[in-house]
Symmetry: C2
Subunit: 216 residues, 2 copies
Amino acid sequence: MSSSAAQRRELQKAELRAELVAAAHALVREEGYDGLTIRKLATRVGYAPMSVYSYFADKQEILMALAEDAFADLARRMRQNQPDDPIEAMRAALAEYAEFGLGNPNEYRTVFMTEKQKHPPEETFEQMERENPAFQIIIERVQACLAAGVLKGDARAIATALWTVAHGSVSLLITFPFYPFGDPKAYVMRMGDLAMAGLAVSETPPLTDEPGMCPG
Amino acid sequence: MSSSAAQRRELQKAELRAELVAAAHALVREEGYDGLTIRKLATRVGYAPMSVYSYFADKQEILMALAEDAFADLARRMRQNQPDDPIEAMRAALAEYAEFGLGNPNEYRTVFMTEKQKHPPEETFEQMERENPAFQIIIERVQACLAAGVLKGDARAIATALWTVAHGSVSLLITFPFYPFGDPKAYVMRMGDLAMAGLAVSETPPLTDEPGMCPG
DNA sequence: AATTTTTGCCGTACGTGTACGGTACAACTT
DNA sequence: AAGTTGTACCGTACACGTACGGCAAAAATT
């Protein structure tokens, strides 16, 4: 196979895929999240419905592509909001995370609240961090806290704990928008501070790497 | 309208509804969660598909009925596992919660990880606590901790915080079963202990009852 | 140049949740 | 008893996601 021809082919494929994603974005903007259907999307780009499946395995993969864009934006915002004080930097990241999740519940749902059965174990790790570049930033800011001595322990374990608490708050607020949590963003911040307080009490050991996985 | 006749009607309606729920349980047991479809369910009870909608507003409401049964079982298990020491009682509740969520991911999803757009604000509170009787138990055990002086502050705020952390862990473990959190149940317990440590640091104020609700 | 393989796209078809309108029978009103 | 209203149930129909098979053109191999 001629390499340049293959490359050109790959490029065209990527372009068409990008065109589909752009069309999907437009559809969502114009008709809302439920307005995005395979058929409408296909019509919009001038293909038959089933042709879309040459570029995406299923609808979930399209939604994921949209969500990845949104999460890239979250990462951008986090980097633009980085106070010098390591704890304040951590809290700023949390604030951006909260604002993003509460402001983009659909994208948040597709990444964090829907099944990921497809991926075999070895892919999942990098996949997760590509879909959620914010996590890398949290790790960095945890490391800053470790360096400053305001936290002690394993960076990834601490970051995962903070992520767990942030996710718990955000996802509950999304699922139960009417439950009396008080001001949503304030609730997320409060839970973040609670986690920081708990983490400050003792040194955080690494996560045990037992293979243990949950059923289902 | 004759009151007894109305009551009999109500009763029959409830019986048919219960029959549908039983059939739904059977279907899920025999064919798995995805095997539960309106048509199969209707066939099984001898009605036309659309007749099911005389008893449930939509499919989600059927899934919710199944989940409520499961959550009632969780509450039962929690009550059967109640150490004397208030902190250990709290941890036991958490352990049951973890085991339930990890062992019944489908039911957990339908209650905690899907939209609840229908219910107007005033219903939500009682609704939530009927669907999730475990929450009431958590509040009780928090109150025991308050009485014993190992925690200080507002019971509902503390219970909500613990619930948030438990939910964060469980839902992440369900969504990313392959992510290296280590042993799932151990991870939930660890996060619970972290929250308890954070809560022990200072007195927990009540949740502000600002109307604030999240968009979407 | 001839042949095989791959690729890009499509048409059809199935099973799904559910909106809508209709119909027959029960219950209540007068 | 006659008329009105409500209710339980059904049949049809729609848009959806997507499995399957096909088909022409391009690419790779011989």
